[in-house]
């Protein structure tokens, strides 16, 4: 094992990648602030995706050339593990926001608790969750809310099921049953795609029928913050797993060498767990 740690000599992807990220961010800023420049944003996004493609491609190639050893494998594992931890903290900030608003801010504005004197400013305000009537009457709250027992429940089932099918696929890969692994991965992907479609339908209904919008006060704000970023993560997960499917079809991965697949699975399970939290605290309670 000594002396075999693979250190790539040079690579243009990191530098190109940061330029691409810069281009994308500048594009996004110009679009938001000045309302122009979607071309820059588009170019930047394509550039980021392209760099990711080529960079990961290099890694795959190196891996298949046998340049990586067990120590490299552990580096990837630590890297992915801590990356997921950072994602956990990202969502923790949002869940913390939801908690703070519901437990502290709204009751205070309504005259409850240690800082309840705030009610002086909002004499007509009554706290409730979901918050249908924000303190400032010029902000119109949602007219209705999404029932957790309809589309969100369906989506919960989709995601929980997909976690199970993905585990089956993973086990199959570990047993060397490539066709089985492939089939269950396809099922997982289908479930993930269904989730996204349902989420899209739900957003459409929220905007058009329920009046749940980004500017409908704190309920709409937290609703879209949490479900939106979760949905984005599901999208990333679906793309990742789709790439894994492609690699299985190309004959990559062996019984004991398939960390890319495993990392994708970790990520997918993480996204699933976040959804359970969302389902409970955004929809049910």
């Amino acid at each position: 094992m000594s002396g075999s740690y693979y250190v790539p000599e040079t690579s243009k992807w990191p530098a190109l990648g940061s330029a691409a990220v810069g281009l994308m961010m500048i594009g996004m800023g110009v679009v938001l602030v000045h309302g122009v420049g979607s071309l820059v944003l588009g170019l930047g996004t394509v550039a980021v995706l392209a760099v990711m493609w080529f960079w990961f491609r290099d890694v795959v190639i190196e891996s298949r050339q046998g340049l990586y050893d067990a120590q490299m494998d552990r580096s990837f594992r630590w890297g992915m593990g801590w990356f997921i931890f950072s994602e956990v903290m990202f969502f923790a900030a949002f869940f913390g926001t939801l908690y703070y608003v519901r437990v502290f801010a709204l009751p205070w504005l309504d005259g409850e608790g240690a800082k309840g004197i705030a009610t002086l400013l909002w004499p007509d305000f009554t706290a409730s969750w979901p918050l249908m009537n924000p303190p400032d009457s010029s902000i119109s709250g949602p007219r209705d809310i999404v029932s957790p027992w309809q589309l969100p429940l369906v989506n919960t089932l989709f995601l929980v099921a997909s976690s199970i099918t993905l585990t089956v696929s993973h086990e199959a890969l570990k047993e060397g049953l490539r066709a089985t692994a492939r089939n269950w991965l396809i099922v997982t992907l289908a479930l993930g795609a269904c989730f996204l479609v349902v989420q899209g339908v739900e957003y459409y209904e929220a905007y058009t029928h329920y009046g749940i919008t980004l500017d409908a006060g704190i309920y709409g704000s937290t609703f879209f913050l949490l479900t939106g970023f979760h949905g984005f993560h599901v999208t990333v997960g679906v793309v990742t797993l789709a790439v894994m499917l492609g690699r299985i079809l190309k004959g990559h991965f062996s019984r004991d060498d398939h960390f890319a697949f495993e990392a994708g699975a970790w990520y997918w399970h993480f996204v699933d767990v976040v959804w359970i939290g969302l389902f409970l605290f955004v929809y049910v309670f």
């Binding site: 602030v33 290099d58 190639i61 580096s75």
Partner: protein, 550 residues
């Protein structure tokens, strides 16, 4: 782990392109690209470390110039040089650049250079990711600095950017500022992941956790803090972005949000951030003091425990930045008690350093001078920190120059001095030459004088009632401010000496042997000076050796 599958078409296709070249190059280490391309494409931890350090140094000067604009305006009462709008942009940019652009990248640069050397690894665990982390920084700070030229000016709401001043009332450039922080945050997270993976996975055989040098330990814990809190910062600035551009009400009571929520989220990031900027400094000082006292560090294990305690406590004290926002009594008490507790592990560290000096055999080369000044002045900053922890007293200190004095004592003669000390300490390893001792001493003494002239009077102006972040002040603060401004310019200008030292040291000077300081013990001193581009390609085996420290 060798692939067990038969080669597929992908592999054939690939060998024709990139990797064939790379596999070949792998045998000729110095055959890579040259010139600017070498720096753009490098995956070498030493080169990337150098890039980080040079970037940090340039940001240090840019942020320093902003500080001097502030100090120049404050030299006398009245508005002389700049308008209040621009003054606010300067204080804001100074803070942001120094925190995110100078101090943090400097520590990451030192980590890049030294951690693989100190744990006996051939490179960082994920070398390409390492390069990506670095090159995100010029992009982020280019974007941040460009806001100075945007209509409405740069961010002007302080480096803490409290909502709603930064949301409903911020300049249009705020959106760009948010994106630049996002990029810098991604860079920090990826850099920290890399450092953790390196420390946990790349140690030479036989090096146990409790054998690691303290710089490695402190960085391990710092990296953990970074990964835990940078995403929270990303989250809160994303919420700002949405309040500004998409009509959400996170920080607006009218919609059911709360401006104070911003502060909770910000300081949940911000307080650990403060330790992110000081823990690696503890590590550096813990390397230098024993080296020049020629005596093992006293209480190695308690240093590790103290660092870990500080890290845990850092998640429990964020509200002490917010004692006057109006919180329930129980919250104020809880956070007062937890904040006071931090004094214990911090005190242990200082006691350990002092005891390390006791009955040593001490010499006073430049790195040691900076490290000793660190101990004294960081302790002064610690004392004022303890005073600030007492909630009733904090009601009088909060947001005055007393606070400015406090955190600058911790950050300038604290973090910055430690970075400079580390640079002097490791320069022989980097360049193969000793830094000029005479110039180094001049640099040290002028810095010490400048720093104390600048920041000591701020304790007084703060106690006398001068608020932070004001471009003009009442007449009774005039003398203090004049002294502070003179001190600021002395400190600022004397940093040019540091540049002179660096240039001289790179070009020549007394040749340094592998073990450049006779009291230095860690692994980096076993490789030649200057360290060749590739070191420890075969890891040193420490299993047979007696444990380093016990």
């Amino acid at each position: 782990m060798a692939p067990k599958l038969p080669p597929q078409h992908t592999l054939e296709q690939s060998s024709a392109t990139t990797t064939a070249g790379q596999a070949q190059e792998h045998d000729h280490h110095h055959g890579g690209p040259t010139g600017i391309k070498r720096w753009l494409l490098t995956t070498n931890h030493k080169e990337i470390g150098t890039l980080y350090l040079l970037f940090s140094l340039s940001m240090f000067f840019i942020g320093g110039i902003f500080a001097l604009v502030v100090r120049a305006e404050l030299f006398q009462p009245g508005l002389q040089l700049v308008e209040p709008e621009f003054f606010n942009q300067m204080t804001t940019m100074h803070g942001l650049i120094m925190v995110f652009g100078a101090v943090m990248p400097a520590f990451v640069g030192l980590a890049n250079w030294m951690i693989p050397l100190q744990v006996g690894a051939p490179d960082m665990a994920l070398p390409r990711l390492n390069n990506f982390s670095f090159w995100l920084l010029p992009v982020a700070f280019g974007l941040l600095l460009s806001t100075l030229f945007m209509p409405g000016g740069a961010p002007n709401f302080g480096w803490t950017f409290y909502a709603p001043l930064s949301t409903d009332y911020g300049p249009p450039s705020t959106t760009f500022f948010i994106f630049s922080l996002h990029i810098a945050g991604i860079s920090s997270i990826l850099g920290a992941i890399n450092i953790i993976a390196t420390i946990l996975n790349m140690r030479a055989p036989g090096m146990r956790m409790m054998d690691m040098p303290l710089f490695v330990w402190t960085w391990l814990i710092t990296a953990f803090l970074l990964i835990a809190v940078m995403p929270v910062l990303a989250g809160v600035i994303t919420m700002m972005l949405m309040d500004i551009n998409f009509g959400t009400s996170f920080f607006d009571a009218g919609g059911g949000g709360d401006p104070v929520l911003f502060q909770h989220l910000f300081w949940f990031f911000g307080h650990p951030e403060v330790y992110i900027m000081i823990l690696p400094a503890f590590g550096i000082v813990s390397a230098i003091v024993p080296a020049f006292a020629r005596k093992p560090l006293f209480g190695y294990a308690s240093m590790v425990y103290a660092t870990a305690s500080i890290a845990i406590l850092s998640f429990l004290v964020w509200v002490h930045h917010m004692f006057v926002v109006g919180l329930p009594l129980a919250a104020e008490l809880f956070f007062m008690y937890t904040t006071m507790l931090i004094a214990v592990p911090t005190g242990v560290k200082v006691f350990n350093w002092v005891t390390t000096l006791f009955r040593g055999s001490i010499t006073f080369e430049t790195p040691m001078l900076f490290a000793l000044a660190f101990i004294v002045m960081f302790t002064i900053g610690g004392f004022s920190g303890l005073m600030l922890a007492i909630v009733p007293a904090d009601f009088q200190y909060h947001d005055t120059y007393f606070v400015v004095a406090h955190f600058h004592y911790v950050l300038v003669p604290g973090a910055v001095f430690a970075i400079i000390a580390g640079a002097y300490y490791w320069l022989p390893k980097w360049t193969g030459h000793y830094p000029d001792e005479r110039l180094g001493r001049w640099h040290f003494w002028l810095s010490v004088i400048g720093v104390n002239l600048t920041f000591f009077p701020m304790h007084f102006s703060g106690l006398a009632g001068m608020p932070r972040r004001i471009p003009d002040y009442a007449l009774q603060f005039a003398d203090f401010n004049m002294v502070s401004s003179i001190g600021g310019f002395i400190f600022g200008v004397s940093q040019l000496l540091f540049i002179a030292v660096l240039i001289k040291c790179v070009r020549g000077g007394e040749k340094a042997p592998a073990k450049a300081w006779d009291g230095a013990e860690d692994l980096e001193w076993t490789v030649p000076s200057p360290a060749p581009l590739h070191t420890f390609e075969t890891p040193p085996d420490l299993t047979s050796q007696a444990p380093q420290r016990h």
